[in-house]
Symmetry: C2
Subunit: 244 residues, 2 copies
């Protein structure tokens, strides 16, 4: 005799301000019995911090601590192997909860299917137990809102680029697009700055740090001198398309 | 003696399911004294439909009816002129409410600063009265969630394209990007289909109609035969980047 399986919910929390969560996300959090989230070992975890005070007092928490973050380069096969084993272990734990008939809410920063870690669990769980995803406001939406300028008008093309790409590719794609968003900046700031210069678009570029969160900063690239930026930094070039 | 001005709020409603609105949006709607929204003449209006039952019974509504939609081509100077006058009139009305000391909530489908009509009011109001924007879940987030597949992994590049672009440009940009979103499809479907074929990416393309709304449909392009698609159709190609 088998129990009806529970559901693994990948719940997007949005850009960081809890007030920007969806009604569905807030309801799922408020009723959660099991809550899981990724974090760096030894930290509280950013996703967990966003929901502080919003979970039932007796929710059972499962912190999924990355075995590695920046200690090993992404290009090293050992990095992939360690992360793959880690995601498999986490997925097994969540599948066990669902198989036992209970739901579990996985906290996801931003939108779960847009460069999110939950995707690695989703791929390992979707054929084993019911999985549902709740979309959310992306960090880039919060960033362009913070600049108080629209990102795309009329027929503008928008390109979203990870700053981890090679400098020449960044420069070429930045030059060819109307509107541009660059994510994953962190230590890639000098490379991004060089690529923007090569594309001739330094003067148009804005930076937003911690969009919608405490410590939000909005500045023009030409006013920013730091070589290293916080992980939650997004660079933006606004489209200038048709406007009646 | 002058009164403290009210605020014009551009409130993103998200992709259409009211449950995907942000907590902030829901709170602003529930307390709204003045509500404004765009609609096609003679229609209820899609933005207004999303908030059915969520506004105070005594909210004062201002329907902003487009003087023209598809009767005149976008490229005709008369089109721009008519729309420009229309937006100026709407902005004047909203500025009057705010100048009188009262707030007004403008209902915006999707995210207000991402190809949204509110941008044309924002540009005309921001130096006259206080204006605030509430970001929201985009239609494209709801669309990729509906396909149950992540849109971007690792270092994937995402390109967002309006289907209104010329076929050759669509084909070139579709061929060069890892992940692709195409908006504004409607009557541009035959052109988009030709561009996807030229880029060699027909087999990877998904279509989502009415994402998160009643009548949501998810299909592969190869299973869709219609030459004309509803306005709320989004085409997607999912990135296939690094995944441990």
């Amino acid at each position: 005799m088998s129990v009806e399986p529970g559901t693994v919910w990948g719940v997007g929390l949005g850009p960081g301000d809890p007030d920007l969560m969806s009604l569905r996300a807030a309801r799922l959090l408020g009723a959660a019995k099991h809550v899981a989230y990724f974090r760096k070992a030894g930290r509280k975890g950013h996703a967990r911090s966003i929901v502080e005070g919003l979970l039932p007092a007796d929710a059972i928490e499962f912190a999924m601590e990355y075995p590695v973050t920046t200690e090993i380069p992404v290009t090293d096969p050992a990095y992939n192997q360690m992360l793959s084993g880690f995601y498999a272990d986490c997925a097994n734990h969540l599948a066990g909860i669902a198989a036992g008939g209970e739901d579990v809410v996985v906290l996801c920063e931003g939108d779960p299917f847009f460069y999110g870690s939950f995707m690695h669990l989703h791929a390992r769980l979707k054929d084993r137990v019911p999985v549902q995803v709740v979309p959310a406001i992306t960090g880039m939406s919060a960033a362009w809102t913070a600049t108080d300028m629209p990102i795309t008008w009329g027929d503008d093309v928008l390109t979203v680029l990870p700053a981890t790409l090679p400098e020449a590719e960044l420069a070429r794609r930045i030059a060819e697009s109307d509107a541009v968003i660059v994510m994953k900046i962190g230590t890639n700031m000098p490379k991004l700055r060089a690529a923007l210069a090569q594309a001739g678009r330094v003067a148009e570029t804005w930076l937003v740090q911690y969009a919608s969160q405490p410590g939000e900063r909005v500045m023009k690239l030409t006013d920013a001198n730091e070589a290293r930026m916080p992980y939650f930094t997004i660079a933006l070039i606004h489209g200038q398309g048709r406007r009646p």
